[in-house]
Assembly symmetry: C2
Homo-oligomer: 334 residues x 2
């Protein structure tokens, strides 16, 4: 990729960016064949090691002490993968204070180093994650082959072990039924598009994760450049799909009404919230509503079921729908 | 009716009260057989006569100079009957400055004296209309028979010529499908229940006119007492139909969302407005929203199609839906 021809990303549609690196330690077997005892030893070793890291302070969360509700909430925040909490004897999370930097221990690989942030910020994330990776690399010996690069449990992570991903809000492409075409077309160049929490979970919110499909035979910076280029193209398509939509008063009316409902509702299901979030975010992106978009995106996470369960006692779904409505109303008015 | 057993009306549900008296002048034939020339003469005579009335100042609106849009708007305000404007050579309206007192000339009868006001106020209206009736009676000779009382074009108006009516907001009885039973039951005691602008026009707004069916063989005060008693009973039934409804959060949620939509919509059809008006009025009646109910009822009139046409140039329905939304939004926020 030529540095002089950087893609211009319409950042309104970019919700968040993430990078993770898959790494394994040479001296331990891969997690699937790792004994619980060795896993416990590794957790302590990495905990000690990261205590000394100068650029971030990590909390150590041994997953065996984490409830399924807490694990569910962390999954909704994209801090851990869905199954990570179920294997608590082996797994632990090292979580930076701002939650932007973290390390999963004994997920599919020994280390899944992750950096994330709101908006379009892959380069910045890469700088931070690379710094942490270099620090760890100076203290342990990674499993590495000159031919395949970093060795990983799954072959799709061989090479640099990098997975960069960008979360996009694509309501117009979704509504016009164009997403399948987009997904197919970018898959040809090694880019995967999935729903919010994986395959098919974007329903209503119109949120999609766009990420590189493999990391072998391509450098980290090439991966990021490729992803940025594709993200810019998808955003351009979304912009085109929105053209001539908002001079139409009926289309604007729908968005404003969604805002009115969020400001006044007393019951709000998770599914309805996703739909209304998308409409109100679209209104903000199009300058129809003056809203703090990152605050709206944080609210989106807080309204997910496990995150709501975190702040309430064991409640019925009905009670959660009520608490979700209260939370949303307060934020929308404030 | 015993004065000591006055019915208690739950006034939250009472939108407005009206009384009209049907009167004819002895020296002219009934309007259907009245020549245009004689009608013009009568209009002038009554105009002159009411100039001297000490308790109210009347504007004289010769209906031949009134556009169909203006007539439509006055019909929506219940100032004239729907066909009154179509016969402009014969008809005129004498309209008090507050629009609470008026006289239609050459509707079905020579004079239809009318008094109306927001809320439950039949006694007060009767006092005012009686005063005006006495004044006119002192200046002209009414067509009157000792046997039938005031002589009128239609036999249902014989006797006192009074028609008292109360507009009620009955969303719970409507929703529970109980209105037909109410209508049938009160018809047995000489009370008629109709929609907002007559038969079957209550759709969405849940507004009903309750009035006496005849005025022969019953005094004015008995008519008003009967109507008040029936209105109190209907309000009691509505209250019962609302019982245990609003502890239910889903029911409250629906009302609050309606309020949210009214505050944010950019397009609003007449039919949808009627439905949302009813829900928001119900919320105010039940103390769920702090709203100025008479202001809401005035807004209801302003949002009727002809009233909207009055304030805008010849527009499409689409443009009116847009202007209705703007008007409603401003009022709901203010």
């Amino acid at each position: 990729m030529s540095e002089t021809n950087l893609p211009v990303i319409d950042s309104r549609m970019v919700v968040s960016s993430r990078i993770r690196l898959a790494r394994n330690l040479k001296k331990y077997p891969f997690p699937s064949r790792l004994s619980e005892e060795a896993a416990r030893e590794m957790k302590l070793e990495l905990h000690d090691l990261l205590k000394e890291y100068p650029h971030e302070t990590f909390d150590f969360l041994d997953m065996k002490n984490v409830t399924s509700v807490q694990a569910g909430a962390m999954t909704e925040e994209h801090l851990i993968s869905p199954d990570f909490g179920r294997n608590g004897e082996k797994t632990a999370l090292l979580l930076g204070r701002e939650k932007t930097l973290s390390v999963m221990i004994n997920e599919e690989d020994h280390l899944r180093i992750q950096a994330m942030g709101f908006g379009s910020c892959l380069e910045d994330l890469y700088r931070r994650i690379n710094e942490l990776d270099d620090y760890i690399d100076g203290k342990v010996e990674y499993a590495f082959s000159d031919k395949y690069g970093y060795l990983t449990s799954c072959p799709t992570n061989l090479g640099t072990g990098i997975r960069a991903s960008v979360m996009l809000h694509l309501p117009a492409l979704t509504r016009r039924g164009l997403m399948e075409r987009v997904i197919h077309s970018v898959s040809q160049v090694g880019i995967t598009v999935r729903g919010l929490y994986g395959e098919g979970t974007q329903a209503g919110a119109c949120l999609y994760q766009v990420s590189n499909s493999y990391s072998l035979g391509i450098s980290e910076s090439e991966t990021i450049a490729l992803l940025n280029r594709i993200v810019a193209q998808i955003c351009e398509s979304e912009k085109k799909a929105r053209e001539n939509q908002f001079p139409d008063l009926r289309a604007r009316d729908e968005l404003y009404r969604s805002y009115g409902i969020l400001k006044e509702c007393r019951m709000l299901t998770s599914a309805e919230f996703r739909t209304l979030y998308s409409k109100v975010r679209l209104a903000a992106e199009e300058g129809l509503l003056e809203l703090d978009i990152p605050a709206l995106d944080r609210l989106f996470i807080e309204c997910q079921p496990y995150n709501l369960m975190l702040t309430g006692d064991s409640e019925s779904e009905n009670e959660r729908d009520q608490r979700r409505a209260t939370l949303v109303r307060e934020r929308m008015r404030g």
